[in-house]
Symmetry: C2
């Protein structure tokens, strides 16, 4: 009825998987409070201590729009040290909305620019206040700026699996956007399920097509757990050959179009799934625990991560306190029965 | 690096999928309140109205252990009508723990017995207060009783993907338990992830092996969303050829070994996933909404179902109120730029 499973999909050559942390930018910008610079630096240090190798640290947007990240310049300077400092083991990326932001990012010696536009015209206008044509021009300008400064570039394509306002976004359009970025010299593209509309079938088809058509592009998948499908979508993306995933510690990061819903897939939940699958991402649920604890303290509220509540699958629980009596009574029934 | 995806896994011949509802038994027995008989009947009617075709309605265990289901006899009589009533369109199944319960179930003309034992010796003792050998003897007795009364039988194997107290449960042992049930004439077996320890890789291997070895058995998968993996596990089970799934409306039903964690996969979330995948289960998220609303009223608390909070992926949201001004300002920049 259905194709037989490839039960040993990852057994022959398990891929190494990269987990990219987005909580300091994508997470914190959706929180009602403004976390002070010192708290952000401690969070990023805790993430680094856990073994995270790429962190979206901040955004060089106008503080008018995102007051939570108004300290972007200071944060990046603190992370990357004074000019002439040797490169560290962690790639610090920052969202760069335009050339002005790009100048600030280059001044701070940001390791990588993350550029954002949406596959949905409506979402692009609502979120970025630009038409898609304007976004493409802006992206081209910032990409040229980064190339000149020899800074790495990643483009994140929002609503790559659907738009909460427009509905379906055709796969051909998503591929056409990727082609435009490739034409501009981009080799790193993140396909973002911005509001949790992806399902594993759609991921298999869409991500599979993107990977097949653009073998030169390093694709990252960015899933939200809005409808409980982040794990399924991750599994489908792994089956499609993707090995790079965005995640946000604790699952912070909102979804303004689905009130009350979960946001980004939690780093703990993603790492837990990868550990269950036997895939090495250089991280463990236990190693992330101090960072999770720190984040909860910073924000003062519970975090959506499922593994944070339930613990990992390998966590053992003691039998009931009266287990020995239960056993003795059961065995006694055999003796007398 | 990994095997290429079969993006069109279900495209050629999408299987029909059956969703079995367990909230009246597995759900309500884990609630702190006792729902009155009338409330249960209304819930089951709402589930029937939504199109559910098989409902685990109650349990013939001692009211001493499960006071929430003390009205099992009355409930089944109400559902199945007086002796001589024609069979209805819905299969009402009841958990039957022993021959005494079996007599009560047969008196009420229950459509199907659901028998339970655990693949973990420790969990079997803790949960059923019997050794596994005692459970097998009890099951054999009740199966013979059901066969004589010409009542259908399903066996649910708990901890088929791991035990929170013992840890891993070897796949060979799970297959050996299924073989024992098959030897007793059982053709319907549910593999239960009782405390949410399954992951999609384990499901692919274990369920794939079971389906391959026992082609004569109709397997049902019973997943919990304890660690956010119910969707991924469902997807992996579908890939392995399973087309029958347990689910509990709203996601009710606890997991005593993972405090604060989600319980059974929510029927709404499962149906949403199946709709996304284009698989017909005779149900829709919208059709379930009245039942969900009724359940929330009955229980007086919010339900864990993700789709209940976020709505289905096809739910549209209006653009921001000032969207036209945003667009005009954006276009004006082009005109003046």
């Amino acid at each position: 009825m259905v194709a037989p499973p490839d039960a040993d999909l990852f057994a022959a050559a398990p891929p190494e998987v990269s987990v990219y942390e987005v909580s300091p930018r994508d997470g914190l910008q959706n929180e009602p409070i403004i976390v002070p610079l010192e708290g952000k630096l401690q969070l990023i240090q805790a993430l680094a201590d856990a073994g995270i190798k790429r962190i979206e640290a901040t955004s060089f947007v106008s503080p008018k729009w995102v007051p939570q990240l108004a300290d972007a310049g200071e944060l990046i300077s603190e992370l990357l040290g004074p000019p002439g400092s040797p490169p560290g083991p962690i790639v610090y990326t920052a969202l760069v909305p335009n050339a002005r932001g790009g100048e600030r990012a280059i001044d701070g010696r940001t390791d990588e620019f993350n550029l954002v536009m949406s596959a949905s015209a409506t979402h692009n206008l609502a979120n970025l206040r630009m038409t898609q044509a304007q976004s493409v021009r802006t992206l081209a300008e910032v990409i040229a700026q980064a190339q000149q400064a020899r800074v790495a570039v990643n483009v994140s394509l929002s609503c790559a699996f659907g738009c909460p306002m427009e509905g379906e976004v055709p796969g051909a359009e998503v591929l056409a956007w990727v082609q435009r970025f490739v034409d501009l010299g981009v080799t790193n593209v993140t396909l973002c399920d911005t509001t949790g509309m992806a399902d594993p079938g759609l991921v298999a088809r869409r991500v599979g097509a993107a990977v097949a058509r653009f073998p030169q592009v390093a694709f990252t998948a960015h899933f939200h757990d809005t409808r409980g499908l982040a794990g399924a979508n991750t599994y489908a993306a792994l089956q499609a050959g993707v090995t790079r995933f965005d995640a946000s510690l604790g699952g912070i990061g909102g979804c303004p179009y689905a009130p009350g819903a979960s946001g980004n897939v939690a780093t703990e939940d993603l790492v837990h799934l990868l550990q269950c699958l036997g895939l090495d991402c250089g991280l463990t649920v236990e190693g992330l625990a101090p960072a999770t604890k720190h984040l909860r303290t910073l924000l003062g509220h519970d975090l959506p991560a499922a593994v944070g509540r339930a613990g990992p699958r390998w966590q053992r629980h003691a039998p009931p306190a009266d287990f020995e009596q239960i056993r003795e009574r059961a065995l006694a029934r055999d003796a007398t029965g």
